[in-house]
């Protein structure tokens, strides 16, 4: 497990221990990765983050069109593994969690401990102002730096 911000480590580690999730990705609503567990290739992280952020944006727009509040979470059940995608507020802005899990755990367990992680992240987050949004001219260098930190190379 690797995280760009140290205060994320403890809540995420607790979630991973309790939920038995295979893969986990925490990202901002724009798809900027904050922490990852289980991914071995940076390309997979970039793809999953982009797709996850896109799906959340799409479902939130659908909810808006239907005049309903945001969806809490999206769960895709598969035979070998399932995927949960949930957006949540933090003191550092709106974040997204993408969790892939197998039959060794259950969606109830994953959702239960995901919600606990969200509460712990809210408590652990530093109270200083959130970092400014990433600018297009800085995007590539910021992305390179993030991936190096997340994969240690």
């Amino acid at each position: 497990m690797r995280a760009l911000e140290p205060w994320v480590v403890e809540p995420l580690q607790a979630f991973l221990s309790e939920s038995s999730a295979r893969l986990t990705l925490l990202m901002t609503s724009s798809g900027q990765v904050v922490a990852q567990h289980g991914f071995s290739r940076s390309l997979d992280v970039m793809t999953a983050a982009a797709l996850g952020a896109g799906i959340v944006a799409s479902t939130e727009e659908l909810a808006r069109l239907m005049g309903s509040p945001r969806f809490g979470a999206l769960v895709h059940h598969g035979v070998g593994q399932s995927c949960m995608l949930g957006a949540f507020p933090t003191p550092r802005g709106r974040w997204i969690g993408l969790v892939v899990f197998g039959p060794e755990t259950s969606v109830g367990i994953v959702q239960l401990f995901f919600d606990q992680m969200v509460e712990q992240l809210a408590l652990a987050a530093p109270r200083e102002q959130a970092p400014p949004p990433m600018l297009a001219e800085n995007f590539e260098s910021e992305l390179d730096a993030s991936l190096k930190a997340l994969f240690g190379r």
Binding site: P103, T105, S106, V107, G108, I109, Q111, L112
Partner: protein, 114 residues
């Protein structure tokens, strides 16, 4: 007898603080009757997981799946009775509850599920 009636029967046993019908594979609540202070979502997720693991353990050991699970703690117990269609009846009971009667009612109710 519908699910609500089955839950009613178990809830009427003295000392029972809540009863849930849980989809074991998902750990999600199907129906519930709970007193204040009982976290149904957590009970469903954790009890569903426990029963699933115990069932796999029994099967790996060459035994049949458990018909009743009693998890005893200082402040009470969690009882679980697996039924058909991957459903599990779960009860959260106080330490002074009538466990014997709760067990009988749960096994009977679980047999009527599905």
């Amino acid at each position: 007898m519908n699910e609500r009636d089955l839950l009613d029967r178990v809830t009427r046993v003295p000392g029972v603080r809540g009863v849930l019908l849980v989809a074991a594979a998902d750990g999600l609540v199907v129906a519930e009757q709970l007193m204040d202070g009982v976290d149904g979502r957590a009970a469903a997720a954790l009890a569903g997981s426990l029963v699933g693991r115990l069932t796999r353990t029994a099967e790996q050991a060459g035994h049949q799946r458990p018909t009743f699970v009693h998890l005893r703690a200082e402040a009470g117990s969690v009882l679980a009775a697996p039924g058909p269609d991957d459903l599990v009846l779960v009860a959260v009971i106080a330490p002074d509850a009538n466990v014997g009667l709760a067990r009988l009612e749960m096994i009977d109710a679980a047999g009527r599920l599905g």
